[in-house]
Symmetry: C2
Subunit: 136 residues, 2 copies
DNA sequence: ATATGTGCAAACTGTTTGCAGCCGC
DNA sequence: GCGGCTGCAAACAGTTTGCACATAT
């Protein structure tokens, strides 16, 4: 995934492909661990000395509105971001503090939402102990 | 549900039944609309002139730890509270801003969590348009 | 040329914490 | 009397906003 590709993805989603937005999106694509805004800020500001928090938030909001990024609200008081917009669930391990993806069968998902309600998005969050941590 | 019952519920869950904790729990039981801490604060401080935010938060945290109340994180940056601790999902309507409960079949729920992972809690959040709002 | 994006600082919101006073066993 | 609870104020974290400057078409 090279820079040029990313910029054309942004463009095709109606997002002006600025350097900063491309960097934020590139970071999310190459670090699919659901980072927080602060994590992205620290990583990018280390790489590019001038990269403000404001711009991170601005870029993330633009990417979310464009449908390229989804917000993961599995931890209260701190948003995490995910460039994988396919249907999937999230599992937060309380021991290792990682957020894991897991698949959700499409037909199960559609059966969950109550009749008459029109969902725009669905978030499925589990919290507990992950596979690795429960072995120890 | 009278006060005496509530205090005995608190006691049986290892929570010292102070007046304030009972009021908070009573409010949640009688207002099953998933209020925020601020909503509870405004309601109770109107009824009882001295009722600090600190105490609301303290009481809520104690109730959550005791397993009597669950946190609903469907709206970023603001926790909502629910005295219904049975398994159920939440639907946030973007038009009327209400949070609705809906049932989840037990077997569907157990099929969602990936093998090897030990869930402690599960939150299923839908966001969209509710039954009433989509009719208009 | 003009609209849009960036970045600093400051504001804001929801929540937590420190600490003094109070209450109930 | 003592441990725990309350409540004020202040701190705190994450996020948003106001505004001046920079940038790109």
């Amino acid at each position: 995934m090279i820079k040029h590709d990313i910029k054309s993805i942004l463009t095709s989603h109606g997002v002006r492909p600025t350097q900063q937005r491309a960097e934020v999106y590139h970071y999310l694509l190459t670090h699919p661990v659901h980072p927080s805004a602060d994590t992205i800020y620290k990583a990018l500001s280390a790489k590019y000395p001038v990269f403000s928090r404001t711009t991170i938030y601005n870029s993330l909001n633009v990417l979310v509105e464009a449908g390229l990024v989804r917000i993961v609200n599995i931890r209260a008081g701190e948003q995490h971001f995910d460039a994988n917009t396919e249907n999937h669930g999230h599992f937060l391990c309380l021991k290792c503090d990682e957020i894991y993806d897991f698949d959700i069968m499409e037909d199960i998902l559609s059966g969950l939402c109550p009749a008459g309600y029109q969902p725009k998005k669905c978030d499925i969050y589990f919290t507990g102990t992950c596979e690795n941590c429960s072995e120890n």
